[in-house]
């Protein structure tokens, strides 16, 4: 891997599994934006026997750094070990664990759904309810886009399944800590390392 040019890189597809399962934890990992960093992170996970559930990568506002949002499958190891091992990578600058309950999370879904004259309006109605966008229209197909929480994406997927999903693609989530009601930010510290 030579750069973090693409905005989101899906690593593994949820495949209908509940994405909000309790065994999943979200790590927000600030790394140096250098060649090979993603390979190092990915290899560390596989070599230590941890499972990456999803992974999203993009440069931060400071392009010397990138942020990885990693959803880890915690059945494979303790979060503490994963975090400590990740910290040993020279290019990893900061790791923040994001508690899904105290975070805003978004993920993007693209789906091609088969339609006929009759189902089209039902699908469009569903899309409307969920706030999904229609990106492309064919004679017997619709391409929909939905950006929302992973749970909403699960629900939406469940509902459009009945119409026949031709293809579906999810990006893996990105997450930020919820803003504290008293005004100051909690959780993720921004961008650059101290």
């Amino acid at each position: 891997m030579t750069s973090f040019g693409t905005s989101v890189i899906p690593m593994s597809m949820p495949g209908g599994k509940n994405t909000s399962g309790v065994s999943h934890h979200v790590l927000s990992v600030l790394v140096e934006n250098k060649a090979g960093v993603l390979a190092r992170v990915a290899q560390l996970f596989s070599r230590r026997g941890y499972n990456i559930y999803s992974l999203a990568v993009a440069p931060t506002d400071d392009e010397n750094f990138s942020r990885l949002t990693v959803v880890v499958d915690l059945e494979s190891a303790t979060l503490e070990q994963i975090t400590k091992q990740l910290h040993k990578l020279i290019n990893v600058i900061k790791i923040t664990e994001i508690n899904p309950l105290e975070a805003v999370q978004q993920e993007l879904l693209l789906a091609i759904v088969s339609t006929d004259a009759q189902s089209r309006s039902q699908i469009l109605e569903l899309a409307d309810i969920f706030g999904a966008k229609v990106l492309d229209v064919g004679l017997e197909r619709l391409t929909l886009a939905l950006a929302d929480s992973p749970e909403k994406l699960d629900d939406f997927t469940e509902l459009i399944k009945g119409f026949g999903i031709v293809e579906i693609q999810r990006t893996g989530r990105v997450a930020l800590a919820k803003l504290s009601r008293s005004g100051s930010r909690s959780g993720i510290t921004k961008g650059k390392a101290s």
Partner: protein, 574 residues
Amino acid sequence: MRLTGAQALIKSLEMQGTEVVFGLPGGAILPVYDPLIDSPIRHILVRHEQGAGHMAEGYAQATNRPGVAIVTSGPAATNIVTPLANAYMDSVPIVVITGQVATTSIGTDAFQEADTTGITMSITKHNWLVKDASEIPRIIAEAFHVATTGRPGPVLVDLPKDVSNQMMDWYWPTSIDLPGYRPTIKGHPRSVAAAAKMIKQARRPILYVGGGVIRSKATEALGALVAKTNIPVVTTLMARGAFPDDHPLCLGMPGMHGNYTAITSMQKSDLLITLGARFDDRVTGKVSGFAPEAKIIHVDIDPAELGKVRKADIPIVGDVRLVIEDLIEALDKGEAGEQVQEDLSAWIAQIREWQDKFPLRYEKDPTDGTLKPQFVVETLSSLAPPGTILASGVGQHQMWGSQYWRFNDPNTWINSGGLGTMGFAIPGAIGAKVGRPDKMVWAVDGDGCFQMTAQELVTAASERIPVKIALLNNAYLGMVRQWQEMFYDERYSEVYLSPDLPDYVKWAEAMGCVALRVESPEEVAPAIEKANEINDRPVVVEFRTDSREKVFPMVASGATNDQVDLGPLFGGDL
């Protein structure tokens, strides 16, 4: 000053104080070998790149300074993978420079191209692919910094041929900018204070000392801690020499082939003060049954070791030497200072009883007149001048080396612990001798191991590096034979090597060594004394030892450390 990338590399190595590199040239690294001619750096031409890597490790283990190896691309890079993995396991600081095909050819399956940084990613602390010659001084400075600080380890710099030839403006970095790399050196004062208190309250404490104590040069501090607290010490395979075997509180090596007292004192302990050790499975046996009553203080510079295997009651991240020094002070301060240390006399009496009842034992005067390997190592140890360095291969001979040699100084035991790399002894000894020419260097080697890396004796002979090899020729892959005898109903599968094929004496002589053969106990001391006299070339002493001899004590794989098999001389299991 305008330099080529290759010149900048050599100059950078000089800036780092490199006095010797181990290597072997080839296509992609050719540009680097040219300025080497004009450099004061000594180059030692190895016969196989694995040798270069292990020599760099031996050098580093003997001197506590980073070892450096330079090899070419492709097959040379893959040949040095084993030493990198070995150094990673044993936290040995080495810097490996590999040649790479030109940047314009990378990814095209060019001649002698291998994805060296990819292959070595998980067995180096970090690696770098140099893209531009201007990066060389910075990367070399970073590489040495990463290798030698924090938890030491191997690093690799992959240098494409066109980058070596590219011109650059020379500079030397004044600082190192690695925002993601800031090892914690100083232990947290509150944890240190709590540890001090816990130490004073312990009734059956043991200092569980690992290789980190040697890497952090903490042996003096450890001595002071023992003097102050009177707590007995076990030294793991990686820590032999970190605390003198001659000290009455040194219990020696614990673990699978440790002695009964070291194993059992840990097992019965109520507090393991763990210093630079990592609860390796060879030490703990079955983890769930390991030291069940012990609280754990765990000091390590690598945070990932804390809680990895055994949860620590007091984890302390920091440099072991600094933490021990702080601990010594903390014992007299605050709550810990008010506490009177528990009386350890009953505990030490118990330990003495175990030592009396269950010492290391082997058949001293076998009626059949065979040569016992333990006798060889014991005699070797007693005839070697103080401070002699002992390197080792991997197998039974390694365990006998660790058990029967008296280690009284740090950095005098050069072995492959974590990876268990057969063939480590000869190049390891050569590297150690290059680093410490003032010291006598012996290697204890097995016949199997010898056949894996013997060619480096040619290197030693031609470079006049007078190492001495005690080859314990038992005609078998002995350690594997032992397992087959004990756990596979004596069904021996592919472990026989033959005592006289090859003829080790002829082979050693052909490689430029003095060679001696010893077949009976009476010949042992004279042969060693003769070898000790030779100082201008390598010596190989082949000892024809008893094939049937097994390493005891032994805790079988999967058993808990309560099940120590002391062997036939004690009438079996305890």
